[in-house]
């Protein structure tokens, strides 16, 4: 039921909020049936709350003015009225009952039963997201690609502390808790890129534990998935070849996987196709050659507290390793 109603035109309320913020506020601008259902409930609740607030505010403006003290006489001493009091007990009970029924309907629409293996497993780490596609063996980080108009089941887990997976325009939050696996359904109905963030405080770099979801038409998605399933291409230029060697000799390889070169399921982001990603370091930086060098040079300045150490690379090492990483399309 909520699904049909949610597709109507923006209400004046939403229009007000959008104008005020000069943007289409994420939560009020859904791109999936799940987020639309949540917005439907938000709207219902909003009108109930606004009605109550209007009554209270009107009373608070009118009564002090109307009944301000004019002389020294004491007003009539009225100590209550049972009928009135019962009335303003019963009306809120009816309202919250209505809200409860609405929220159960919404919850059932958003959280469908799970009867199959997840399409994607997202694992929160201090302070980045590991993204695994079990069917194809693809592993990537901080960038989740989804096929458009297709029910996608995402399992959310954690490798260390509690995180929370949230893409406001696509649906509900769900916690990533060590030792548990949670599920969330997403069906993106608009192509494009959607901001996501860790919503549960998880330590020093909670602020830069962001990610993006890329919803693509199925053919485009298939191409992307095929590209990501391939092992890393061998570097061609001399500098990139040197970079690959140095990547192995320095401690980079102790934490990062590059499938085809070195792979032992380590605990830092998989770099097999790092150059294909839009952003670096969980949305901290645009993925440009200059930023990549900057990041390798001083990760702890760009993201203080992050677990990537400053390896104090020489300029030669910096250039060759960066050149190698840029080949990992």
């Amino acid at each position: 039921m909520p699904e049909e109603t949610s597709r109507r035109q923006p209400t004046p309320v939403r229009y007000f909020y959008r104008t005020f913020a000069a943007v289409h506020l994420n939560v009020l601008n859904p791109a999936s049936p799940q987020a639309s259902d949540l917005l439907w409930l938000w709207d219902v609740c909003w009108w109930v709350c606004i009605a109550i607030l209007t009554v209270v505010t009107a009373a608070l403006l009118y009564i002090p003015f109307r009944f301000r003290r004019r002389d020294n006489r004491e007003p009539p001493q009225i100590a209550g009225n049972k009928r009135l009091e019962i009335a303003w007990t019963v009306v809120p009970i009816l309202l919250v009952t209505f809200l409860f029924v609405s929220s159960v309907l919404t919850a059932r629409a958003v959280d469908r039963p799970v009867r199959r293996e997840p399409d994607i497993v997202v694992i929160g780490h201090q302070w980045w997201w590991e993204v695994r596609y079990p069917a194809s063996g693809v592993v990537t980080a901080n960038e989740i690609h989804l096929p458009l108009d297709s029910d996608t089941l995402i399992a959310v887990e954690s490798a260390d502390v509690i995180h929370d997976f949230w893409v406001p325009r696509l649906g509900r939050k769900i916690d990533a808790i060590p030792g548990r696996s949670n599920n969330v359904w997403i069906r993106a109905t608009a192509a494009g890129e959607f901001d996501g963030a860790c919503a549960e405080y998880c330590g020093a770099q909670h602020a830069w534990m962001r990610f993006r979801v890329v919803a693509q038409p199925p053919a485009e998605y298939r191409t992307w998935l095929d590209g990501q399933s391939a092992v890393a291409a061998e570097p061609q230029t001399a500098e990139a070849k040197l970079g690959q060697t140095r990547f192995g000799q320095l401690t980079c390889v102790n934490c990062h996987d590059v499938r085809g070169f070195h792979s032992q399921k380590q605990f830092a982001p998989d770099l097999t196709h790092v150059a294909s990603r839009k952003m670096l370091a969980a949305e901290r930086l645009q993925n440009t050659p200059a930023n990549l060098r900057d990041w390798l040079r001083q990760p702890n300045v760009l993201k203080p507290g992050c677990l990537m150490p400053n390896l104090k690379l020489s300029d030669d090492d910096l250039n060759s390793v960066a050149a190698y990483l840029e080949t990992l399309q």
Partner: protein, 548 residues
């Protein structure tokens, strides 16, 4: 030995406390009024400290990418801000007021257990100092006031800040429980003749219910704190999944304390409002029975709503529905109160004192906070908006716009009783308007930031459209709030020295604390007036009858 002076107790006759140096008298005192004043002064100091922490945060967030505070420093500051405001300001502030006022309002000479009372205060004070010693020890706690495991465990919070946090809260918790027991014993046993339970002032009613809630809630926290310390120091695994424990268990413990705690922080505020509004409307409270009974209903419901803090954990629909229903229900007795307060003003003769202005502002902001609370009680809305700035806005509308505005109303109302001098109304009006405007400027835009997806507890944020502007507005509001606090402190300091003399009953109020001098003598009353209704001083002034 015979040349020793006589024991001062013997000279003073019925005066139980020997005279010493003034400072020693304060330290040695078991007088509920002095202990109450020490509570209020201590919380004022911690309030200013907590405000400074808030200002540091708002300065850091005023624009995106600010490097004023490192992430580690920011995380310490927001953890200390939350912990300070909740454990060292709001709760002890209300306990301090309860301590000062309860015996006076029920016509008693002191609390039932004066030494326990002193013990509670000193344990609280040393707990607060211990918490702040963590800075001196190198690192304040940085896992948030809620300290979710496993982030708060030794593996992720390697320094000693967390241990200071747990030990300090353990001490404060013991003090709080002792005060609650003391208040219950006092209210049950020491009411003056004629003060039946239906004639107790509503503030005392709320303090009584509140104390019962403390006894239920605080032990859950203390138990969890001990488990956390055992985990951290002795390598146990209560809250780590690797050793067979559960991080979710911590959340159950913490919130089964933490949600009643929200009501512990707001029920006495309801009590203040229930005293201030009738006096300045010149009418008795509308529906005494409903206001008292709805408090009991809130207390009972509040122990069964904790998992609404955990809707995003993925506990399953059965849990979510059950806790959604109980959380929605709690809106009913709360709404009843708001309507009863408004009805009290209807038909009255309203005096716009600073105290009354704060009470009216309380009704407005608390209603907004209560309504956004209703939104969070419906689980699916919570799935979207929890852990965003929408929650930060909601909870400050309840705790700042709610509790603290009520405390401000109480401050202007009872300051003359406590000190014998009135606070300046002129400076009071400046204080009120600065605080009201600053508050809404700071926190209203945070609703919008939350709707736009800004998570809370972030030390910085990307420069997304609109975010910088809204955060700057919020930070400017915080500066206005700081100015308001400054005006308040100046008002207190100047009025203490040169405020107008108050007399026994400056507001022409009706409860027993106004039947004695301002400030009251050590034994509180020369003689307690007879109590034949909830408004004994009204009865004295209107002997012709007409019970109201």
């Amino acid at each position: 030995m015979s040349d020793l002076p006589l024991d001062p107790i013997l000279i003073a006759g019925d005066r139980a406390v020997p005279t010493h140096e003034p400072w020693l008298e304060w330290i040695a005192t078991v007088d509920h009024k002095r202990i109450g004043v020490m509570y209020l002064l201590t919380t004022l100091v911690f309030f200013v400290v907590g405000d400074c922490e808030a200002l540091l945060m708002r300065y850091q967030l005023a624009w995106p990418g600010n490097t004023f505070l490192s992430p580690d420093a920011y995380n310490q500051v927001f953890t200390m801000h939350g912990t300070t405001m909740i454990f060292l300001v709001v709760v002890p502030l209300l306990l301090g007021l309860a301590n000062y006022l309860t015996p006076l309002m029920i016509g008693a000479r002191d609390m039932a257990l004066p030494r326990l009372n002193a013990f509670s205060f000193w344990v609280f004070l040393f707990g607060g100092i211990l918490l702040y010693c963590s800075f001196a020890a190198g690192h304040a706690p940085a896992a948030g006031w809620f300290s979710y495991a496993p982030l708060s465990e030794a593996g992720y919070s390697t320094r000693h800040g967390m241990d200071y946090w747990a030990l300090a809260l353990l001490g404060i918790g013991i003090g709080t429980i002792a005060t609650a027991i003391n208040l219950i014993v006092t209210i049950v046993n020491l009411r003056t003749d004629g003060m039946t339970i239906r004639r107790v002032p509503l503030f005392v009613w709320m303090v009584l219910v509140n104390s019962c809630l403390i006894i239920f809630a605080l032990p859950a926290l203390n138990a969890a704190l001990v488990m956390l310390l055992v985990d951290r120091q002795l390598n146990a695994h209560f809250f780590t999944s690797l050793g067979g424990g559960s991080p979710v268990l911590w959340q159950h413990y913490f919130w089964s304390f933490g949600h009643p705690e929200v009501y512990i922080m707001v029920l006495p505020a309801f009590g203040i409002i229930s005293e201030v509004i009738p006096v300045f409307s010149r009418k008795p409270i509308f529906g005494y029975g409903f206001v008292a009974a709805s408090t009991v209903a809130i207390a009972l419901l509040s122990v069964g709503v904790w998992a609404h803090h955990m809707f995003a954990v993925g506990l399953g629909h059965a849990w979510d529905y059950a806790f959604s229903a109980s959380s929605l229900l709690i809106a009913v007795p709360t709404g009843v109160k708001v309507f009863n307060w408004i009805a009290t003003m209807w038909g009255g003769a309203i005096r716009f004192t600073t105290s009354m202005l704060f009470a009216i502002a309380f009704l407005f902001t608390f209603t907004i906070g209560g309504l956004s609370g209703v939104q969070f009680a419906t689980a699916p809305i919570d799935w979207q908006l929890t852990d965003t700035y929408y929650v930060v806005a909601h909870m400050h509308y309840v705790l700042f716009g709610g509790t603290l505005f009520a405390v401000m109303a109480g401050l202007y109302y009872w300051f003359p009783k406590i000190t014998g001098r009135l606070l300046s109304e002129k400076r009071g009006k400046v204080h009120f308007w600065l605080m009201f405007i600053g508050f809404h400027l700071t926190f209203f835009v945070q609703h919008i930031l939350g709707l736009d997806g800004m998570p809370r507890r972030v030390y910085t944020y990307p420069n997304l459209p609109g975010w910088a502007r809204m955060n700057l507005i919020s930070s400017i509001g915080a500066a206005v709030l700081a100015l308001a606090v400054l005006v308040m402190v100046v008002n207190i300091a100047l009025s203490l020295r040169s405020g107008a003399l108050a007399g026994d009953n400056p507001w022409d109020a009706w409860t027993l604390e106004w039947a004695t001098s301002s400030p009251p003598p050590e034994q509180n009353f020369e003689s307690v007036p007879p109590v034949r209704s909830a408004r004994p001083l009204w009865d004295l002034a209107h002997p012709e009858g007409g019970r109201a």
